[in-house]
Symmetry: C2
Subunit: 209 residues, 2 copies
DNA sequence: TAGATTGTTAATCGATTAACAATC
DNA sequence: TAGATTGTTAATCGATTAACAATC
């Protein structure tokens, strides 16, 4: 039935979105694949393939209608339908994420959880912090299916297990360990050390020359 | 001369590192490609190819010596040689990063910069915050070549331009826009919206079924 | 020794890029 | 109309996976 968009394509679509919104604000109405390609250093054919995944069709000699294209990308990414989320781990990174508004990226953080008594009951960036003991109860009551893990690596798996027990369907994991979860549970990892690995390796290579 | 390790391999090596350190702490001395592969759900051949990039050779029937392997991965990633870095943008995310210790991942954040008068002169997580006007002067004096950008998207390019002018060689960019920099400048992007795009798209697909 | 694991070559798979007729 | 841009098919490229002799 569904195509199942490839990972590389899914990673490029938000870039297009951001740029399209920007030039739309400048009054531009159409964008060609070569315009997008040159902005990002991609191949125009690749851009057309990516955009084809949205179902939008372009017009020869003009390109794609920006309004319709933005809407189609939003739908494809699931950003037109916001899911509620709980965040666990109110440390530096967790607090930072509580200050972000991800509502144009498909999620809304409802509340946060921690085990530190001093944090429980407080508000961080206007989000209430609850005891981790209450997560199952609250998730079931509020029908929350998306969890964000910002605890230290050694506690990440036990937090994930709690989330699974509470019926979560998807986990956005910022901890530096791979989570062991059933096949049907979605996990997306954000690994800062991986990102740094690429940067520092390339830097070393650069200085070697 | 140098091979130029592929991006997929560079992304997997930190995973191996983390796991190797963990089991080393449990007293394990050798790790086979199949052990690592099963831990992460990879193919054992792929693990061997990755490890071959480090130059370490395994021993048939035993695997790789963990102590030597960790050292070899560290060297390959450039994590044995710590680069000083400056961070620009002391908001939620910037403050969070200032609280992290990246010294085992090849960088050390020396100081932070911002344009907000209320932040300048303060200390966040024990890192001093300077006026952005001083970045070139300080970078030249302290020989800093790595910049971290945690400002809002609309200011990211101008911060990058300042860094280039100050002689920076590498930028770790957390802003949601691609930076336009000369070819020889390294940029590594961390894009939360891209990561969310994959999660929310898969979630939508999951509910569709 | 027997057999698990290595390093490496060959086959497969998937994504990117090139080529080009159709179209506005 | 002329020609820029589309959608799509074919060729290329690079990474993953399979196969297997060598080895401890």
């Amino acid at each position: 039935m569904s195509k199942g968009i490839s990972r590389p394509t899914l990673k490029r679509l938000p870039l297009y979105m951001h740029y399209l919104k920007r030039i739309q604000g400048e009054g531009v109405e159409f964008a060609s694949s070569s315009l997008l390609a040159s902005e990002f250093g991609f191949d125009p054919t690749q851009v057309r393939k990516d955009l084809a995944a949205t179902g939008e069709v372009g017009i020869a000699r003009r390109g794609f209608e920006i309004v319709a294209l933005i809407k189609a990308i939003e739908e494809l990414l699931g950003w037109n339908n916001i899911s509620d989320a709980f965040l666990v781990g109110v440390g530096n990174l967790g607090s930072a994420l509580l200050g972000y508004d991800f509502s144009s990226n498909g999620i809304h953080i409802l509340a946060a959880f921690d085990t530190d008594e001093r944090k429980i009951g407080s508000r961080i960036n206007d989000k209430k912090v609850f005891s981790l003991n209450n997560i199952k109860d609250l998730a079931e009551r509020m029908k929350v299916k998306v969890g964000i893990i910002t605890v230290p690596a050694q506690h990440a798996q036990s937090v994930a297990d709690l989330m699974l027990d509470a019926g979560f369907e998807a986990i956005w994991n910022f901890a530096a360990v791979p989570l062991k979860v059933p096949e049907d549970i979605l996990v997306e990892n954000v690994r800062l050390s991986t990102s740094l690995a690429i940067l520092t390796n390339r830097l070393k290579e650069k200085y070697k020359k």
